[in-house]
């Protein structure tokens, strides 16, 4: 285990003897199924759940020769921006004492930042790979929706989430992506992208060549961001410019509403996905008798933490009679608008750049009592999930107080090679 609580379990899973990841360790977020090894999703509900099968990405890691050194701590069911909602205790940021590591893949980013694993897998529903990568000073990639199989990922909001890599450098993150990407007959939402991504080769794109790269900067994503974050962002942009890239400002009016749309959609999907945890087929059983509904409600009260209850209830509310058109339908309109906006902005820029998070890592405990403020911190990352696009977070430098700042680069669908090339000029 680690002093900063990065792992929930340290069962070692050995991979095959050779392969592109032989001799390397890849930690796996605890919402990704590992056959015979406990998979808790950071929840009391799944405290003793042991999957009878491997997620596709885990099979691919083992085939590639990776050793899995453990399952990483996370916000319960992926719900959080700080990795403080885990039933197994909060994670500390190993590179910024007293601060959160970001969430919800905070354990995965922390074990990489601390050097306790060579690389890690996280999952990103609204920024859950990019946020902790930014807060811990490492690299994280949220792939295009459909590039990586979600088979064996315990679902939270399945129209938004993707599994992706976290690593110390862009090249290593790209190597890990290369191993896990590709269609899967067990996940009908995966796409064969071989026309856009020949051989699914990503690592060789990390050549640092940004000569002639055109970068769009959405001004909306800088408005209201922390001053130290904005300064560090522009320093990194200057660096890219000095290496031959050019940038221009772009307008993305829809992103002003993206974070609200994201939460309505994510919570609605959560209310449906988490209905399966009733303590009969799996999950904590209250051991109650009597009315089934009351018995399930008791089991779910005990098994779920407060953030999970909050989101399931808000999702139930948004989908309930009389409110569906007001919240859910409007959120879907906003999602379509965000997609159009991104398509337009990317029609005359190769990538879009912004700070990954508008704020530096928060102090521990600071945001727990104020869910709305925490939700709003996801303003820069959630639009990308609504648009199903790929994005990378690379270290941009540090604020004057020595806190890590991440730079986010967003590309067109299946444009992973472009964001990897651009990101590799910085890390």
């Amino acid at each position: 285990m680690t002093g900063y609580n990065g792992y929930i379990a340290t069962d070692t899973i050995e991979g095959s003897d050779d392969g592109p990841l032989a001799g390397r360790t890849v930690a796996v977020k605890d919402n990704i199924s590992t056959e015979g090894v406990r998979t808790t999703c950071g929840s009391e509900m799944l405290d003793d759940y042991v999957p009878p099968y491997d997620a596709t990405v885990v099979e691919r890691l083992k085939d590639a020769g990776a050793t899995i050194p453990g399952k990483t701590n996370m916000d319960e069911f992926g719900m959080g921006t700080t990795t403080e909602t885990s039933a197994f205790g909060a994670v500390e940021n190993p590179v910024a004492e007293g601060r959160v590591p970001g969430g919800s893949s905070g354990g995965s980013a922390a074990v990489v930042a601390a050097g306790d694993a060579d690389m890690a897998l996280g999952s990103d529903t609204g920024g859950s790979i990019r946020c902790p990568a930014a807060f811990c000073g490492v690299v994280g990639i949220k792939p295009t929706y459909g590039l990586v199989s979600r088979y064996g990922l315990v679902a939270y909001a399945n129209s938004l989430e993707q599994i992706g890599p976290i690593a110390p450098s862009v090249e290593e993150a790209a190597e890990l992506l290369e191993v896990i990407a590709g269609p899967d007959e067990r996940d009908g939402t995966t796409r064969d992208a071989s026309e856009q991504v020949e051989d699914y080769a990503f690592a060789d794109a990390a050549d640092g060549d940004v000569e002639g790269l055109s970068i769009g900067v959405p001004t909306e994503l800088l408005d209201g961001a922390d001053e130290g974050v904005v300064e560090t962002f522009w320093d990194a942009m200057d660096e890219l410019e000095s290496q031959g890239a050019t940038y221009h400002e772009v307008d993305l009016p829809s992103v002003e509403h993206a974070v609200e749309a994201y939460y309505v959609i994510a919570m609605s999907e959560a209310s449906s996905n988490l209905a399966r945890f009733d303590g009969v087929r799996y999950g904590k059983s209250g051991g109650y008798d009597g009315n089934w509904n009351e018995s399930f409600a008791n089991a779910r009260e005990e098994g779920f933490g407060e953030e999970v209850k909050r989101r399931v209830l808000l999702g139930t509310y948004a989908l309930s009679a009389g409110y569906h058109d007001k919240y859910y339908k409007k959120a879907q309109d906003a999602r379509a608008w965000v997609k159009q906006d991104f398509d337009e902005a990317l029609s005359d820029a190769d990538v879009l750049a912004s700070p990954t998070m508008p704020v530096p890592p928060m102090k521990r405990g600071e945001s727990l009592d104020d869910p709305l403020t925490m939700y709003l911190a996801d303003a820069n990352t959630t639009p990308v999930n609504l648009a199903n696009l790929p994005a990378i977070s690379v270290p941009a430098g540090e604020t004057d107080d020595g806190l890590p700042v991440g730079l986010q680069l967003v590309g067109p669908a299946f444009g992973e090679r472009t964001i990897i090339r651009a990101g590799s000029a910085l890390a």
């Binding site: 059983s285 009260e301 209830l313």
Partner: protein, 92 residues
């Protein structure tokens, strides 16, 4: 923004629909927070109606018999089972 956008009875009703029991402290906190969060969601009223031109297609696979979990594997995480079946709470 009105603090009374959601009242405690409404929170209890939603919790009932979601099959999650809440204690009184949670009802109180959620009533206050939901008022604030739902007020923020009202910003969606400003979203223009947008054409959704997504070319969605059903993805189907042939319906062929193939290996699945064994009965023992399917039951291994059930808190209670009996005679190879899941065991739920007794109906009163």
């Amino acid at each position: 923004m009105s603090d009374n956008a959601v009242d405690p009875d409404e929170v209890r009703h939603i919790a009932d629909l979601a099959r999650i029991d809440l204690d009184e402290g949670e009802v109180e906190r959620f009533t206050e927070q939901f008022g604030e969060i739902l007020a923020a969601f009202e910003a969606l009223d400003e979203v223009p109606e947008t054409d959704r031109d997504a070319d969605l297609a059903n993805v189907m696979r042939p319906d062929e018999v193939r290996d699945g979990l064994t009965q023992a594997e399917a039951l291994q995480n059930a808190p209670e089972s009996e005679a190879g079946q899941f065991k739920g709470p007794k109906v009163s």
